[in-house]
């Protein structure tokens, strides 16, 4: 199992994502100017400020040579995880529905958050079921503790799209009650595409993989889920 982590000029969390992925498999960086995805089984588009994000978050990155390959990889059913800026890039690339708007508080905000796992059976959440290692909320849904940090994280889609996504089970993660600081519609923290192989989330799972640093390992479940999905598909 090998992860490829895309590195744009201006990426900030690519090394964190690389090390998080290496806790469950192999991982390698992919330079934005390269088209070769280095035989990766899954791709991570990491957080940061790709190309400075001066135009609109993710608007330039989607045109990079590496992203052309990632888009083709996703269309072929490959697993793609977008984190924060990566989520924004995937929306700009048309791989995920909706858009990320500026936070309602108009400020960059960093917080450790509680997230409800709406569907614990996707390729990105199948290791998130309630267990000795995963807490449950009042409704018995699994709950993850993962930090978020961004200025543009307010998930938006039109009402019809949102309804369709709810019906199709594409709303995978929600901010727990009282945790939605950015004003996302339907408290959306993470969504997948209709085929279920592309997933974007604003919180940073790669920053919740070590008890020592951050006090939560819940983010590891996302990477572990991807490993299970890739290895399950092989069998």
């Amino acid at each position: 199992m090998k992860f490829g982590v895309v590195r744009f000029p201006g990426s900030c969390d690519e090394v964190d994502a690389l090390h998080a992925a290496r806790r469950v498999g192999d991982a390698e960086l992919i330079w934005h100017a390269e088209r070769d995805l280095k035989a990766a089984d899954a791709i991570v588009v990491p957080g940061g400020f790709s190309y400075g994000d001066y135009l609109r978050a993710g608007a330039i990155a989607r045109f990079s040579p590496a992203m052309e390959s990632v888009i083709a990889f996703a269309r072929d059913g490959g697993l793609v995880l977008g984190i924060c800026n990566g989520f924004q890039v995937l929306c700009e690339a048309g791989l995920l529905p909706g858009a990320l708007l500026v936070n309602t508080n108009l400020r960059f905000t960093f917080r450790q958050l509680q997230l409800d796992v709406v569907h614990a059976d996707t390729a990105f959440t199948r290791a998130c079921g309630v267990s000795a290692n995963v807490d449950a909320d009042a409704d018995g849904q699994p709950r993850l503790s993962i930090p978020a940090k961004h200025s543009w994280g307010r998930y938006y889609a039109d009402a019809d799209t949102l309804d369709a996504m709810e019906q199709a089970g594409q709303i995978v993660l929600r901010y727990a009650a009282g945790q939605n600081f950015n004003g996302s519609l339907h408290d959306i923290a993470g969504v997948c595409n209709g085929a279920g192989n592309v997933f974007g989330m604003m919180p940073h799972p790669e920053h919740a993989v070590d008890e020592l640093i951050g006090g939560s390992v819940d983010g590891l479940k996302i990477f572990e889920s991807m490993r299970l999905a890739v290895e399950g598909a092989r069998q």
Partner: protein, 766 residues
């Protein structure tokens, strides 16, 4: 500026002749008459405009430290952990495992007073460049901010502090408008730069005091990590080697920043300085991110001889200082510098402070590889000159000489001045306005809530939430989790870092107040279990040419030296920011101290909180609380005392050693607000109450002083500490209330009431 043309009629130059500048032009650029005459003597004739502009910058206070250098030479700079001391872009200490930690604090006060967002942002950009200029990857930023009073967060309470009559921009006359505007802009600017470049902002401090109203302080500290052998110095070497400029192109922004902004008093504040906005640079963190990665890759691949960032005074100071350190000369052709706009004059190119630029020296054989790497990172690599053995700084335009100076004269021959310190005979600072209804007779519970909700004490969460504190995956203790930030190292150990400097106490007693600031930093490190390795400092003072400021400065530096010697935490670098005063007088003298330490086991880093019900609470250390210069005395409108009680530095150090080695479960040093506030902070952090009984009176509750720690631990585990250091058991953790009694005084508050008071600051952003 008076300069219109840099061409000279005394030297071969392109274009038409231009008149030589006069002594009046030199005065306008900040030189004195005597300094101008000395420049003429060094040059052998009157300098042309380019030369005069370069001298005026390198001989400014900002570059030459002409009023502080003699004092700074008294500071301790050697120690077992020191790898690189003052004089390089940043200092560095050995942290084991083949790694060094580079760190430095620097100010961007005057630019931030003029334009807070860009001023603060480029302050962060500048200090980060200092770190990677010596080959270290920046791993953390901290900031130390001072503003005027922000007004009263709690509506209904009157007696809002002074300030604000010249609030700008903002509602005229609104109390605290200017302070809030500056705070908001500076915090957003720091976040913008640090967040965007992927370096976590892990700590910092903010204080609000009236003397900073017209002259805010924005100091930023950065830390970096490097393999020891990767460290690089800035000395240019090897005649025939090529000088390569890379990074952003050069424009007309920031011209004259070092002399006009950094080395003179500000005007009346606010509107008076609006015409200086063009001298503030604009930051581009994306450009710097590429510059950072490119610089580190150049070093990793061994492609460059030396490296230097472009900061104040741009190419002028970078090139001249590289040449001076290497004992060589430099020929530099301004026509080869990539420009943002056409028609820039040589002097403009030489003094531009455009951000995000670096200069390196390259052997000719490596030039192609260097330019190729610059192309990969899209950072505009351009060979602009070469190292010579002439000892001259020669500036050319299209091969024609337009300026010729001795490197030694530029860098080393600026006259140094002796200070004329004299202790002032009367108080320099007015007593703060009293909070209505707050006296020593007020119920202690209400005093506690008033202090907790005051701007200097209330929770900083609304500020630090705007910073990414976790990128790079090293942050073991985030803001508000401990007294110091803790960053994991690869071998399981950790760095701890703290920044501190209570200007009010330094104003009361420059020597003792500075000793306290250094001890406070070390106490913060002790609370997470770390031993100090080295210290950096930023000396923020008023105009040193005035005897009372000279006295503050010399006493403060004496205290800094004594405290660092006692703690064996030598000074490895720092910065001086003088002339911080305007029409309303000087700032509080504010030495900002940054200290870096190491703890052997990251997993055992201390936390600021009560954890277990039933844990014992104790006061530890030679703590003698007193009210003068305390937060409570400020709130009740007391003038500053003339002097603080003398400190038993050795006793405080012994307490810190005991704390560092102790079993740690909940630990906090007692600082602003005294024991009652420290108890409240531990209760808030742990979400659990406590019952405490203190000896004595109101001083025991709210008095301040160095050397005290609040510690909580499972029953019995404090026994190991008994005898080694003064320790008094004062109570027990538990319940939903904080109950404190001290003689006839008693306090009983719920956790909810504490939370409400402590979050008062959030309203400043409403």
């Amino acid at each position: 500026m008076a300069i219109q043309d840099s061409r000279s009629d005394t030297k071969p130059a392109a274009g038409v002749d231009a008149p030589l500048p006069t002594v009046e032009d030199a005065l306008a650029l900040g030189l004195t008459r005597a300094e101008y005459e000395l420049v003429c003597a060094k040059q052998g004739c009157a300098p042309n405009l380019l030369e005069l502009a370069m001298y005026s910058l390198l001989w400014s206070e900002h570059c030459a430290y002409k009023h502080s250098k003699k004092l700074l030479r008294t500071l301790p700079t050697d120690g077992e952990h020191v790898v690189m001391g003052p004089g390089e872009n940043a200092g560095a200490v050995d942290v084991g495992g083949g790694l060094v930690c580079a760190f430095k604090v620097e100010s961007h006060n005057h630019p931030s007073a003029v334009e807070p967002f860009q001023g603060a942002a480029t302050g962060v950009g500048g200090i980060l460049r200092d770190i990677f200029a010596i080959g270290a990857r920046p791993i953390a930023v901290l900031d130390s901010l001072r503003f005027g009073e922000p007004g009263d967060a709690s509506a209904g309470q009157s007696g809002s502090p002074v300030a604000g009559e010249a609030g700008s921009p903002g509602t005229p006359g609104a109390t605290g408008t200017r302070a809030r505007y500056l705070l908001d802009g500076a915090v957003a600017g720091i976040g913008h730069y640090g967040n965007s470049i992927g370096v976590p902002t892990v700590g910092g401090e903010v204080y609000f005091e009236a003397p900073y109203e017209h002259n805010c302080l924005v100091n930023a500290m950065a830390l970096g990590l490097a393999p020891r052998e990767r460290l690089v110095r800035s000395a240019a070497a090897g005649p025939g080697n090529v000088l390569v400029l890379f990074g952003a192109s050069t424009g007309r922004d920031g011209i004259g920043g070092a002399s006009v902004l950094a080395s003179a008093e500000l005007g009346s504040g606010g509107d008076g300085d609006h015409d200086k906005r063009p001298t503030v640079q604009v930051g581009d963190p994306f450009e710097e991110k590429k510059l950072l990665e490119c610089s580190l890759e150049l070093l990793e691949r061994g492609l460059i001889v030396s490296l230097q960032d472009l900061g104040a005074a741009g190419l002028t100071s970078s090139a001249a200082e590289m040449a001076s350190k290497g004992g060589v000369g430099i020929d530099l052709d301004v026509a080869r510098v990539p420009l943002r706009e056409p028609g820039m004059e040589p002097f403009e190119i030489m003094v531009s402070e455009s951000q995000e630029r670096m200069l390196c020296v390259v052997e000719p054989a490596n030039l192609d590889a260097v330019l190729e790497l610059c192309a990969k990172w899209e950072v505009n690599g351009s060979p602009i000159g070469e190292v010579t053995d002439s000892g001259r700084m020669r500036v050319l335009r299209d091969g024609q000489l337009v300026g010729d100076m001795s490197v030694a004269a530029l860098v080393d021959d600026c006259p140094l001045y002796d200070l004329r310190p004299r202790k002032p005979t009367e108080a320099l600072y007015a007593a703060p306005p009293a909070r209505a209804g707050l006296t020593l007779q007020t119920a202690p519970r209400d005093i506690l809530l008033a202090i907790l909700s005051s701007p200097n004490i209330s929770s900083r969460r609304p500020l630090f939430e705007q910073y990414d504190a976790i990128v790079q995956s090293r942050t073991v203790r985030r803001p508000e989790q401990a007294d110091a930030a803790v960053l994991a190292l690869p071998d399981g150990s950790a760095l701890a870092v703290s920044i501190d400097g209570n200007g009010r106490r330094v104003a009361a007693d420059p020597y003792t107040g500075t000793v306290e600031a250094v001890l406070e930093c070390a106490a913060n490190l002790a609370c997470v279990g770390a031993q100090p390795l080295g210290t950096t400092n930023n000396l923020n003072f008023g105009n040193p040419e005035k005897p009372h400021i000279a006295w503050q400065l010399s006493e403060s530096v004496r205290g800094l030296g004594d405290a660092c010697r006692a703690l064996r935490a030598p000074i490895v670098g720092g910065n001086v920011s003088l002339y911080n005063e305007g029409a309303t007088g000087p700032i509080y003298p504010t030495p900002v101290i940054g200290m870096v330490g190491r703890l052997p086991d990251a997993a055992r880093a201390g936390r600021l909180r009560f954890s277990g019900h039933g844990h014992e609470i104790a006061l530890l250390g030679p703590f003698v609380p007193a009210l003068p210069a305390s937060e409570l005395d400020k709130l009740r409108g007391q003038a500053l005392p003339d002097g603080l009680p003398a400190i038993d530095i050795a006793g405080v150090r012994a307490a810190q050693l005991a704390v560092r080695d102790a079993v740690r479960s909940g630990l906090l040093d007692i600082a602003e607000g005294g024991v009652a506030v420290a108890l409240a902070e531990c209760a808030l952090a742990g979400g659990v109450g406590a019952e405490v009984e203190l000896d004595g009176s109101i001083e025991a509750l709210f008095g301040e002083g160095p050397g005290g720690f609040l510690i909580s631990a499972a029953p019995g585990s404090l026994d190991a500490l008994t005898g080694a250091v003064p320790l008094i058991r004062i109570g027990t953790v538990g319940g939903e209330m904080l109950r404190i009694s001290a003689g006839a005084h008693s306090i009983a508050v719920t956790l909810g009431q504490l939370v409400e008071a402590h979050s008062a600051f959030a309203e400043l952003f409403a």
